[in-house]
């Protein structure tokens, strides 16, 4: 049993972490500015995932939810462990992409 509110709370925390990183960083060259723009785009995808999940039917008892939710929590921990430095943007983007995928998987399983 994975409550929808727990999945959403996790995503809220992820978006908070990404937003904190975005506001804390000041790019010093074009490459860093491009990476920061990509990070903004990933954060906005998390917002979209949140909107989608709020809208969707969600069967909290659906079989197979536990594994992706555990993955989501693990990725969240990984993201939050990153220091807010320009050197970590690429990793943050990569983890955020994985999180969006996991969130979509959870939504699909819970809707089934």
């Amino acid at each position: 049993m994975i409550p929808k509110s727990e999945v959403l709370d996790t995503l809220f925390g992820i978006r908070d972490a990404l937003s904190d990183m975005i506001i804390a960083l000041s790019p010093t060259n074009a490459n860093e500015a491009a990476e920061l723009a990509q990070l903004v785009a990933r954060r906005d995808r998390i917002t979209g995932s949140i909107n989608f999940l709020i809208a969707a039917a969600f069967n909290e008892a659906a079989a197979g939810l536990a594994a992706p939710f555990a993955d989501l929590e693990a990725k969240t921990a990984q993201l939050k462990s990153l220091n807010q430095t320009l050197a970590n943007i690429a990793t943050a983007i990569q983890v955020a992409d994985q999180i969006v995928q996991i969130a979509a998987t959870i939504a699909t399983i819970a809707a089934g």
Partner: protein, 319 residues
Amino acid sequence: MKHASIILLLTLVWACGTPYLDAAGEFAKATGASATILGGMTDLAHQLCLERAHLDYLVHRLEGSNKLDAHGNIDPRRGQPVPFARYFSAAQIPVPGGEPPTQSWETHCSQVGVADQLATKALQALSAYANALQTVAVTDFTGSNVKQLGTDAGALARALTQNTSSTTNKVAAISGAVSELAGTLEKQYAEAKVKDIVTTADPDVKTILAGLISYLDAVGEEGTDATHLLRTLLADADTKLSSPDPVALLTLQNISARWQSDLQSKLQALSRMSAALSSLSDAESNLAAAAGKKAPDLGMVLADVNDVVTNIQAIQKAF
């Protein structure tokens, strides 16, 4: 002294009541108590949606990422800065796994607004049901207004289902029950089968109540989302304060307090609505359970209930 006598009389009436009378009275009481609270539901989801859109815009504004390309995609590097109105209508928020894959805040909030209307219709159907239970024996109720409710609910539900990415699927699910309940009330009145109203209407009433509770849960999630966005916005604003300017700090503190208070009020209203719906669900369960038992004719029972409710209202006004 007069008031004390009336209260004593009412106490005796309730104490001597049948299970049916008690249950119907509970439903009537719960509906009355809930009506004012639930009235605030009218556009709460839409309000929260607008608030979320504003907060999302302001977060982007502080980041300098409120910039859109020609297609409405957010592009902090090549896009053009836009004000809120443009961001609200044109910015395409990605919806991973959704169809279509992006959605503007304006579209999103407009769908939420339609859901509000349907939720309001559902509440009106419940009120009609409660009023019907109270007035069946003493008024010439034709049910024509109730029928219109069902028609309206059907039209709103069709509007909702045309938008598959709507945040309002849950509300669409109860529209059938609203129509069914409206039809049931109309038919039972027309055929004067008042005794069967509770038994016949109960499944639809339960579906409507469950749908509304679920809808409020979804609105609550939007409220939680708004809370997070507000926290991010205020933290961003704090970070962006380049110098310890006392005026700027006080202004931020003032804005922070007011916005948090406003959001808190909405969340508290949501909480009260959820509690009210919960009470109504319990009352309906009791009423349905009593309907299955051997009891006096419902019309007679409800006439008594109506008298009791009228007296209670008179007492409340007197005080």
